[in-house]
């Protein structure tokens, strides 16, 4: 599903140049649940931004579902993002003046789906994350865990090939963290490919594979026994 070869990325700030990713080789097959770990500054967020087409790569190759991703213009990148990827952010990034279902329906709006169908599908996804009674609520009326679940529903809405989660539990307490991870595991069980960026060990071990990043290179890439979170829920 994801194929990365010899990926390099540097940031330039004035005369200083910061080499963040120094040759990453890495591939993800369909249905995997991969944790990308590393301390801050290891380059994990940069890797995720490149995977998410939010940032351009300098050198190397990136194939997503067989499509080469390089030097895309903004419009094309937007189209690919919309078609291939679902994002989950640490700070949820819901639009605060839109209700839960309207937030979930936003990717569908940019796909040109009509309003009636959008609402139908958004409600379906909200119900699948257990927020059926909350469809008309504003983000400010929801708890942190609920907000993240709305965000997950939004990431699912466009039926993406890959879901990218950037510290999805970073802003949540451990109980709601586990709820969110349970949801991510369930979505993975249904066959969705998911990448989770985290720096927490227990979260990483709830995935099926852990990739360790340090100073811009992969230092460890291992398959682990997945820890199911079901016992913690409710």
């Amino acid at each position: 599903m994801i194929e990365i070869k010899d990926l390099h990325k540097s940031y330039h700030m004035g005369s200083n140049s910061l080499h963040v990713l120094k040759g990453i080789n890495f591939s993800v097959k369909e249905g995997e649940l991969v944790a990308i770990m590393g301390s801050s500054g290891s380059g994990k967020s940069t890797l995720l931004n490149i995977l998410g087409m939010l940032d351009n790569l300098d050198e190397g190759e990136y194939l997503l579902d067989g499509v080469t991703i390089k030097n895309l213009n903004e419009t094309k990148a937007a189209n690919y993002r919309n078609k291939f990827l679902g994002f989950i952010f640490q700070s949820f990034n819901l639009i605060n003046y839109k209700s839960a279902w309207e937030n979930v329906a936003l990717p569908l709006y940019y796909q040109g789906v009509n309003r009636k169908l959008r609402k139908e599908r958004a409600i379906k996804h909200l119900e699948s994350v257990g927020l059926g009674p909350w469809v008309d609520h504003l983000p400010s009326e929801l708890s942190g865990g609920q907000k993240q679940r709305v965000a997950i529903a939004r990431a699912l809405a466009a039926e993406p090939k890959v879901m990218l989660a950037d510290e999805p539990t970073g802003a949540l307490d451990s109980k709601t963290s586990h709820e969110v991870m349970d949801l991510i595991q369930k979505i993975n069980d249904e066959g969705k490919t998911i990448l989770v960026v985290t720096h927490e060990d227990d979260i990483a071990h709830m995935c099926k594979r852990i990739v360790h990043l340090k100073d811009g290179v992969i230092v460890e890439d291992k398959v682990v026994d997945q820890v199911r979170v079901t016992p913690y829920v409710q």
Binding site: N79, F87, Q90, S91, N93
Partner: protein, 409 residues
Amino acid sequence: MFSRDLWSEIFHSIKSNKLRTFLTGFSVAWGIFILVLLLASVDGMKNGFTKQFNDDATNSIFIYPGSTTKPYGGFEAGRRIQFDNEDLDFIKQSFTGYLEYITPRFSKSVTANFGKETGTYSIRGVNPDHQIIERTVVEKGRYINENDIQNTLKVVVIGKVIADELFKDVDPVGQNIILNKLSYKVIGIFSDDGNEREERNMYTPVSTLQRLYGNTRNIDQIALTYNPEFNFAEAINFSDNIEVALKRRLIIDPEDQGALYFNNYAEQFSNVSNFTTMLSVISIGIGMLILIAGIVGIGNILVFIIKERTKEIGVRKALGAKPFDVIKLVLLESVFITSISGLIGMLFAMAVVALISPIIDAPAFSNPSVDNVTIITATIVLVVAGVLAGLIPAMKAASVKPIVALRAD
């Protein structure tokens, strides 16, 4: 482009940001309000000035004789100049094609009687062209015609004031009026836009008056209008040419300033026209400046809004919004706000003008109004302003990098 979804996005954004929408809208509405009021005021001033000069045709020249101030051609200084019919014919023949209308004026003061009423008025011997030059409005009956001139008929057209004073309730047309013991037939009544004093005059064929008063060929004044196509320079040039020709004919020093007086309306009217044109230019200029201030205000608010919405725009882009989607969102919002609030400002200003217009009718300021062209122009300016004001912030918004916007804070 104008799908229901896009509009609902815009309304959503407006509804959830009432204060900033109000602030933006108010600055535009205020700008347009002032612009329309300003244009209406200038229009009022223009009307006022034009009204003051409406008395006579605006392309008219009046020529009065005076006394020479310089000895010339064997004559001493101080000779009184007197026009006669031949001078008029001379001008007529010399300037065919340049002239539009020409008339002599030969005036006398008369005591008028009708029944028991009596009064002193001035009577002017003129020919039919005079009606157009003086912009005399015949209210009843008719003006002097060519037949009256040919047959030196004793007919008069009297001013409204005379009709009121002498005839009271009687219809003057067809009645006989005694002027200096001679009986004339009243053929018409006239009014004059210029002033009431004009309406204390009466007009009779110039030939009649010349025959009755000394059987002369003398005339007091020559009034004429020139080709209305003439511009200001041509008009001045034309009156200079007449002056030169008349001075040669009447043996007057070309440098003599006192022998002939030319009253060219072009000169006065041109001053007024220049003045009002200048006024329009200035008002449009000021209006534009006010609008620019408004536009900068909107732009300012929009830039601030974009800053505030950076995160939202980043999210939208991460979810698949294309740069054009973002531009559309921001631009249409600004166009929508400017158009609606501009319309409100305009309607409000028009209401004020419509209320005030009938009340105000002072000499220098009369019936201020706004015409449709102004309104359409203002509307177009508005929408363009909205686009301009929204453009830079919209481009800025479209270039927001999702990673920057989404960085956890």
